[in-house]
């Protein structure tokens, strides 16, 4: 505004009254037709107002568009309009299709030089610039403080097992609906096992639970599941969906992220140890700046910051400044989505179009990440790499590593010795062959044919052993810059077009006071994390409990789980959402505790059965009159099949990429034009039997090996940050179920195991149903199954039947 005023003053000073009329005549004769012909198509109220700039009014160019005033009267070099028509900045060339003839450009230059006289007056209905009103914005429900909601009274008080149930029931009673009856024990057990661990219950689990008449039978099951390692293995993956995690840096050239697995394992451990969520937030945003009591804690804190750099970081960008600010944008966006349910990426270029978030809010946070080092240029051509930090080791770890190093050294020495001998022998033979005769030649040729490839293999093996020599463990992590500073607004995200400097801070609409001062020489990430993890934050707890609710009940109370803004969906049960948020924070941000209460509620026990009346009144089940059915996600489908066929192999975590095979690693030479990269030539056999969360995640291509199933069943694209995966039913999935090797293998293993463990065919049918569908077989099914078996040959019958069950909807759904 200030600048507009100044330019107005400047314009009036420049024009004396006498000359003004000439100026206006020049404008009307020469300039106006030009503007109409060249600019109005995209910059007028009649057509479009691109970039916020209208040129059909004087006030249009005075206020200007996203870049500020388009013309500074009298100042050619500062006038964006002149810059644009001169085609000096490739980012802003106007008109976009072709440069105007030189004569026309001269006319515009002359006009601006004479002070841009403009006879057009403002029309009514002139577009008002939208300004962000933070105080008004705070009235929106999501920015209101979390309210301590009391559970409402209900008519049928006996239905409620947990306060949660009263919130649900009250709404249902209010519209005259009844909650669905309780699901039978088999259904509930399968549901809770899959939801908490991603694995079905075993026949023993089923037997124990269905026979358990004690009052705390349900609690026993839930506590067992929450304590199993499988819990973290499932819930960590939900979190990874929000981070863009992959074992690959960026998307170009399959550059391996050989330390990314540490972050994955960190997240699994965080869920399994029930790390308080506020702590989880602080470690991921500012772990490197937090105090640590032990080397292990320090290591975990550093690894946690992988959150900020394990997304799709485009390290091949040739403009490094642009690369860095693009990454800052990704970090702001990710923090916004994962913790706050806000689409902050929009605000990089302009104030948020719908939400009360100004560009200054964005750059306040962006300044913190701009003050953080995330990448560095490497010796490979134009490439950069995500920063790696050495992790503290315990004494034992160090001793053990040095032992491995010695072994590796002697291996390299052996290889080098063999290489030297082979090369010598080859040199001798190369000479010999020149003078060899018909009889002496063939054995030389034969030997050379062995030696040549062997030398290549040896060279590759040596290079590989040297490259991957045991070293101090590292993690992808960030650290503060030496000179942290505030950041200037980048106009339309262009780091070479800078606007005002913005003091580092946070989103004002979700603030309750001043942000504590950022210590000198610090980025401010600690203060950012403290703000997000504060009990008073209106978004963090709400967004988090809603995510947990969505995973358990199929839909969030706010269905747009990643977006709590004005254009998002209002909560179906706002009081319940606040009740849960409050409870979560009071319970020390314990995710396990919250999950435990939810799955032990009556609401979670409801069956997913149909009800004609309810369907008519609430077809989307927003009021939760029954349980939502869910299709298993890719991980659960694969892992459940492995568990059922008895082939699931427990994993201790560790490196995801099979880089131990020299043929899988390329470009290991120092200073190669392209950086080290992975090829999936050879698979690690155990990967076929480990849980899916441990398999390598690739961003730019189909998923490798048996992880391929992810591509078929709606895996979250690992460049996205998403709290809710798409769920589709397409023929590709059916083809996979009908014909894939994976299904066939699991069916074959399952049939073999059944035939060996259960010789009696009748009992075998019982066992098959219990293992795959986790319920007893019905008499109709028994008849059909018997008929089916008799129609096939003995050796294939049980494989086909197992295959049938593993591809059935009942297996793929959790009811």
């Amino acid at each position: 505004m200030k600048r507009t005023f100044q330019s107005l003053v400047a314009a009036s000073l420049l024009l004396s009254p006498a000359r003004a009329e000439d100026g206006l005549a020049f404008f009307e004769d020469k300039v106006l037709p030009l503007l109409q012909q060249r600019c109005y198509e995209c910059h007028s109220h009649e057509k479009k107002i691109k970039g916020g700039l209208a040129l059909d009014l004087k006030s249009g160019w005075q206020t200007g568009g996203d870049n500020g005033p388009a013309i500074i009267p009298g100042d050619l070099t500062k006038s964006h309009l002149i810059k644009a028509v001169r085609y000096t900045d490739p980012e802003m060339e106007m008109p976009p299709k072709a440069k105007m003839p030189a004569g026309e450009i001269e006319l515009l230059e002359k006009w601006v030089a004479m002070g841009a006289p403009d006879s057009r007056v403002a029309k009514t209905g002139d577009k008002q610039a939208r300004t962000i009103d933070i105080e008004a914005g705070k009235k929106f429900w999501a920015f209101q403080p979390v309210h301590d909601a009391q559970a409402p009274a209900v008519k049928d008080a006996s239905w409620a097992l947990d306060p949660v149930d009263r919130f649900i029931l009250a709404k249902l009673e209010g519209v005259g609906l009844k909650p669905a009856a309780e699901a039978d024990r088999h259904t509930w057990l399968r549901r809770v096992s899959l939801d908490l661990t991603g694995l079905p219950p075993s026949p023993q689990d089923i037997e124990r639970f269905t026979a358990d008449t004690s009052p705390n039978a349900y609690e026993k099951v839930v506590d067992r599941l929450l304590q199993s390692k499988a819990f973290g293995e499932r819930w960590a993956r939900h979190w990874l969906d929000l981070t863009g995690y992959a074992d690959q840096i960026g998307t170009s050239n399959d550059v391996f992220a050989e330390h990314a697995w540490r972050y994955r394992d960190y997240v699994i451990t965080a869920f399994n140890t029930d790390k308080p969520f506020d702590r989880f937030i602080r470690e991921q945003i500012a772990g490197d700046l937090l105090p640590a009591a032990t080397p292990q804690e320090r290591a975990a804190n550093l690894i946690a910051t992988g959150f900020l750099v394990l997304g799709d970081v485009e390290i091949v960008a040739v403009d490094k400044l642009k690369m860095e600010v693009d990454l800052v944008d990704q970090q702001v966006t990710k923090v916004g989505t994962a913790f706050l349910g806000m689409t902050l990426g929009c605000v990089r270029c302009h104030d948020h179009k719908f939400d009360p978030i100004a560009q200054t809010d964005y750059y306040a946070m962006a300044g913190m990440f701009r003050s953080t080092d995330s990448t560095h240029k490497t010796d490979n051509g134009v490439w950069s790499c995500v920063n790696k930090t050495e992790l503290p080791e315990t004494v034992e770890q160090k001793v053990e590593r040095e032992k491995r190093l010695t072994t590796n050294d002697s291996k390299i020495n052996d290889l080098k010795a063999e290489l030297e001998a082979s090369e010598k022998e080859k040199a001798v033979l190369d000479v010999k062959i020149k003078t060899a005769n018909k009889h002496s030649k063939p054995p030389i040729v034969k030997r050379l044919q062995e030696l040549t490839p062997r030398i290549k293999v040896l060279q590759k093996d040596i290079q590989h052993s040297e490259f991957f020599a045991p070293a101090v463990p590292k993690a992808f992590a960030v650290h503060d810059r030496e000179q942290p500073t505030d950041m200037r607004i980048t106009i339309r995200g262009n780091p070479y077009a800078l606007g005002d400097m913005v003091k580092r801070g946070v989103m004002r609409v979700a603030s309750w006071g001043e942000l504590p001062p950022i210590p000198e020489r610090e980025s401010g990430r600690v203060q950012l994390a403290d703000w997000i993890a504060d009990a008073r934050h209106p978004l963090t707890a709400r967004v988090t409990v809603n995510r947990i609710w969505q995973k358990l009940f199929g839909e969030g109370l706010v269905r747009t789980v990643d977006y709590f803004g004005v254009r998002g969906e209002a909560p179906s049960h706002p009081e319940l959402l606040d009740h849960l948020a409050m409870r979560f924070v009071r319970g020390g941000w314990s995710q396990k505790q919250l999950i435990r209460s939810l799955v032990l509620s009556r609401a979670y026990r409801m069956s997913s059965a149909h009800d004609a009346l309810a369907m008519q009144r609430d077809p989307d089940n927003r009021l939760l009159w029954r349980m939502n059915r869910q299709r298993l996600d890719a991980e659960a489908i694969r892992d459940a099949m492995l568990a059922i066929s008895g082939k699931l192999t427990l994993s201790q975590g560790g490196p995801a990429l099979p880089l131990e095979f020299p043929e899988n690693a390329v470009n290991l030479a120092p200073k190669a034009v392209n950086p080290p990269a992975i090829l999936f030539k050879k698979h690690r056999p155990v990967h076929d039997y480990e849980r899916t969360v441990y398999l390598p995640v690739i961003r730019s291509a189909g998923q490798p090996g048996s992880a391929k199933l992810r591509d078929v069943f709606d895996f979250a694209q690992p460049a996205n940050f998403t709290g809710k995966r798409a769920e589709t039913a397409v023929p590709t999935q059916a083809l996979f179920l009908i014909n894939s090797d994976m299904l066939r293998s699991r069916a074959t293993e399952l049939a073999k195991d059944l035939c060996e463990s259960t010789p009696n065919a009748g009992a075998r049918l019982e066992a098959l149903w219990l293992r795959v569908l986790n319920r007893p077989i019905t008499s109709t099914e028994r008849d059909e199954a018997n008929q089916f078996i008799h129609s096939l040959t003995a050796e294939s019958a049980w494989i086909e039947l197992s295959h049938a069950l593993l591809s059935s909807n009942e297996f793929l759904l959790r009811l």
Binding site: P90, K97, S252, M615, T732, S807, E810
Partner: protein, 467 residues
Amino acid sequence: MSMITHSSRRDWLRNTACGFGALAFHDLVRAAQSPLAVQTPRFPAKAKRVIFLFMAGGPSQPDLFDPKDYIKRMHGQKVSAPINTNELRVGTDKFLALATHGEVRPRGQSGTMISDLMPHTASIADEICLLRAMHADNNQHAPAALQFHTGSTTDVRPSMGSWISYGLGTENQNLPSFISIHPDSDVRLYGSGFLPAAHQGTRVIVPQDDKQSPIDYLKDTSANPAAQRQRIDFVQRMNRRLLQQAEVDGRMEGMIESMEIAFRMQTATPELVDISNESEATKELYGVGNKDCDKNARACLLARRLSEAGVRFVQVTMGGWDHHGDIRTALPKSCAGTDQPCAGLIKDLKSRGLLDDTLVVWSGEFGRTPWSQDLSGTSPIEKHGREHQPESFCSWMAGGGIKPGISFGETDEFGFRPVSGKVHLHDLHATILHQLGLDHEKLTWRHLGRDFRLTDVYGNVVKEILA
């Protein structure tokens, strides 16, 4: 406002209510709410379908379409181009002009400039509209290819085939609306992003022998076909019983239906991709059997078959254009591999009367620099290649209401910066949609509170090239 009601597959299946196990896919597709139902274009369309010939890697426009006298004169010497100094240069820091390899001459009545390396393309010069000042935003393959397909260099957005499928539905109820033949490994290039998965591209491989399967998991792995059918019948009986218990469940109905479609695809797909009953003359037109271009010839011929059968958007990817070094040896091979198949496709479409309403687009994700690149730093100029160049490059379009026999756009004396007729690929996207009767500013999808477009907030229809 979006032009189409936002309804997911689940919604429309739910809306079709009571069990339709007995109905076939085409009945479903006809149902009004199907995401694949034929949609009426916004305004009269010139084209009904698109074939996109994607030259992955970045074909060298200075060698193929846009030679410059200045570069020829300066061959081997340093030129001072108006380059962006913020960018790192590897192997191009000397800025040595590299003259066009071979001759680029005027062809046909139109005089469109085309290289001797592409004699077949030269023979269709009067059919194509050569865009000589194309422009994109990123100079690395992955983000540039992503932008070409989705409009965005980073996010996972729907690809143009998906947008078009969403906008127009499918004309053949037994086929997907979007097929990508020999796609790049990057699944995002044919993904549907936040659009319903019914709009995602189906990856098809043209089988070179009996062992190759045109699409994944098409081969029956069970003991025998009868066993497979018995197994599917058994499963579907169970599935239908479960659905009966549930009474209403659109998702289950969708799953039941997809299994039947999948079963039929096992026989329908190999038949569809089998080009053996095409005439010898047709096969010859594309170069089938010619060892230099057999694979692409089969792919282009299949593209025509699919288009003819009503597939809305068919893409054929032909790689190998990334000539960083020794371009003078490598480029002729890439041309020989693609020239006849692409030109054959245009001729074939024309002779069948299909070219009028089929829009064909030929392009790489970017072009290449007029100066040389030498990653070794020691090779003679004759062995140099060229670096990526999104600032300007050449593409061509044919059919579908595009003016034939014209060249549009000019670049500066280096062949680096457009000076007129600049077409950003957002403009190309806008134009493609326009020819299909879709307004690129109105074809939107609400996601995270915002209405997304293929062209984001950009794009102008290139009216100058419309017939």
